[in-house]
């Protein structure tokens, strides 16, 4: 086993909701309900599942955009060569932590400030974290633009986001993220808003950068075909829980959990002669089985580091 970059144990994120007159009926939405996973150095994990299953909430809790309700998230600390829980970080360490963990958002049309030039956008993180001299910072911006394929950089520096295409904007987002030289990048459906033709070039760019800069990704998507292309391992999420996690090819060839089977069989196949058979799944039944199983945070290893949630799914298999 190689070293882990991040270890997540029983992460929970609950939201309080109220309804009724004056919000008298209080309730709790368990958006993330006790999930655990590790990401070793240099590996990427895909987090897949339907909309609303808690993928993005997981991501936001990991990078402290939303405080978690319960559970433990630890990152590798280079100085002490050990895992350090994010709860133990003091203010200085927190700032350092935030340099190492970055996020690329789904929509490149909404995640860039329309009134800032590309140069301002990419320079901002360096200014906030006070990295390098002013001249060095500008040089770093030019370098990173070359890295993400926006060449010549001089043409892009003074421009505004509205002057760029979707693919170019997403490259700017990636540049802004990578200029911090993070170790861990959370990608929330970074290619779902892009056209087919540019999607692959953005995915290839991210794969190359992962290799060259030794970055690990947590790649969130609902498309298993995309996750297959990007990730070493895939975790399948359903209603706030991880139900199956395995090495990518293993998961696709040998899915165990009924929900994983359903998800894989829902992906259209680009081959007219392929006869896709959709795995039939009764969601209500699955829901009630999972809901009954309140203690199940455990996953069982069925070999090849292939883990399946322990709740009793025999009736559905």
């Amino acid at each position: 086993m190689s070293k882990n970059l991040i270890e997540v144990k029983n992460l929970e994120k609950y939201f309080e909701v109220s309804s009724g007159l004056f919000g008298r009926n209080k309730g709790v939405v368990k958006a993330v309900d006790g999930i655990s996973f590790n990401i070793p150095f240099g590996e990427s994990l895909g987090l897949v599942g339907q909309s609303g299953c808690g993928k993005t909430t997981t991501a936001r809790s990991l990078c402290l955009l939303d405080p978690k309700t319960n559970g433990d998230v630890s990152f590798y600390n280079q100085e002490s060569d050990s895992m350090q829980s994010i709860d133990d970080l003091d203010e200085n360490e927190l700032k350092k932590f935030r340099r190492n963990i970055q996020m690329i958002f789904q929509d490149p049309y909404e995640s860039l400030n329309p009134r800032w030039t590309i140069k301002d956008i990419i320079l901002e993180p360096l200014n906030i974290h006070n990295i390098g001299e002013l001249n060095d910072r500008e040089e770093a911006v030019v370098e990173i633009l070359k890295t993400v394929g926006l060449t010549p950089p001089e043409n892009y520096l003074p421009r505004y986001p509205h002057e760029l295409s979707g693919g170019q904007r997403q490259r700017v987002s990636i540049a802004r993220t990578l200029i911090m030289k993070p170790k861990f990048v959370i990608c929330d459906e970074p290619t779902s808003m892009l056209d087919v033709s540019i999607r692959i070039s953005i995915m290839d760019l991210m794969l190359n950068l992962a290799r060259d800069l030794e970055v690990s990704y947590l790649y969130i998507t609902h498309d298993l075909a995309v996750a297959r292309y990007m990730c070493n391992r895939i975790a399948v999420m359903f209603n706030g829980k991880i139900v199956e996690i395995a090495e990518t090819e293993e998961l696709l060839k040998n899915p165990i959990h009924p929900y994983t089977k359903r998800l894989i069989s829902s992906i259209p196949v680009p081959d007219p002669s392929y006869d896709r058979v959709v795995y039939d799944l009764d969601y209500d039944e699955l829901d009630s089985i999972i809901a009954k199983d309140t203690e199940n945070i455990g996953m069982v290893d069925i070999g090849n580091e292939h883990f399946v949630a322990t709740h009793d799914v025999k009736g559905l298999l």
Binding site: Q50, S51, S165, D195, V196, S197, I198, R199, I200, S201, M203, D204, H222, D223, L224, A225, V226, R228, Y229, E249, L252, R262, L263, I264, S266, I267, P268, V269, P270, D271, P272, S273, Y274, R276, V278
Partner: protein, 324 residues
């Protein structure tokens, strides 16, 4: 040839803008038989939606059909007056718009909005007849009839999309255009909607024009397909044939850039560059600047763009066919 429901011939449409005419649809010809499902695929801005809008003549005010003909069941649609067109829309050709689930009027009940369309086309129907009709449509798309009394915000994305399909079917159209009906949806819901569309199409013997940028969906949904690039069809033919032996370089790239969950993991190819401007177009093959293996002829753009027949029913642009 008489079994063709829709015949489009040499259709040209452009948008008049301040910086010049944007030719969005260029010399498009295709025909669709009864019960056939026809796919239009290409990247954003290639003119897929412009073709759909031209068929219904619902384009923006600055759009002009400069030449060509659209014949639906023997009736020429180009040149019809607005009131004549109103009869054809929904009754002859209906459309499921892109992002249609957000197109519902938020303050009117879903059932009432469908009723409105039926009333327009069948004014003599009684209210109870219309209610019965909507109930049967909802049944067809697997919606509970109580949804009629709901407002759009009470429905999930998938339910709204099902209701949109019911709306598109409400006036017994001969041809239904589905313009990216599943792009905003989740994979599992997408899968259900695709199945619904297929089921309804077979049940009613509809002709379907399916527009998408996702070639995997086109593979599953269509019998015949056309690949569009920069306002033109560059390859046209039976879907199975095009997937098996694509003749145009652009089609090949589209196929090689689509990830799949089945089969061996492949290295995917990306398509570099940007599509050309549709204002002041140059002569010759518009794809040549992005072509991965252009010959000298392509690069000189000396070959005029024209579809030629390679196999019966399978056409591709001659420039690429000559390159081999």
């Amino acid at each position: 040839m008489s079994d063709n429901v829709l015949i489009v011939k040499d259709l040209n449409m452009h948008y008049e803008t301040l910086s010049g005419d944007v030719s969005a649809v260029k010399d498009i010809s295709f025909s669709i038989k009864k019960g056939e499902s026809f796919g239009l695929v290409g990247e954003s801005g290639c003119g897929k939606t412009s073709v759909a809008m031209s068929l219904l003549q619902l384009q923006a005010d600055n759009a002009k059909i400069s030449s060509g003909s659209i014949v639906l069941d023997g009736q020429e649609l180009v040149g019809l007056s607005e009131s004549e067109l109103r009869k054809v829309r929904w009754n002859g050709i209906s459309i499921v718009f892109q992002g249609a689930m957000n197109a519902w009027n938020p303050v009117i009940k879903v059932g009432e909005q469908i009723r409105e369309a039926i009333r327009e086309h069948y004014p003599s129907n009684s209210k109870s007849e219309n209610t019965k009709k909507i109930e049967s449509l909802f049944k067809m798309v697997d919606l509970d009839e109580s949804i009629m009394e709901r407002y759009p915000h009470e429905l999930s994305g998938g339910m709204k999309q099902r209701a949109v399909i019911a709306l598109a079917l409400s006036c017994d159209p001969k041809v239904v255009i589905a313009d990216e009906p599943t792009t905003a949806l989740d994979v599992v819901v997408q899968d259900q909607i695709l199945k619904e569309i297929k089921k309804v199409q077979e049940l009613l013997g509809l002709s379907l024009i399916y527009i998408s940028h996702d070639i995997a969906v086109i593979a599953e949904m269509t019998d015949n397909m056309a690949v569009m690039y920069a306002g033109r069809i560059v390859e046209l033919g039976p879907t199975s044939k095009i997937f098996k032996s694509p003749k145009h370089a652009y089609t090949r790239l589209l196929l090689e850039s689509t990830p799949s969950v089945v089969g061996d993991k492949k290295k995917l190819r990306s398509l570099e560059g940007e599509p050309p401007s549709l204002i002041d177009e140059q002569e010759g093959c518009s794809f040549s600047p992005r072509c991965p293996e252009p010959t000298k002829e392509c690069a000189d753009r000396s070959v005029e763009m024209q579809l030629i027949e390679i196999d019966p029913g399978h056409y591709a642009d001659q420039c690429c066919v000559k390159c081999g």
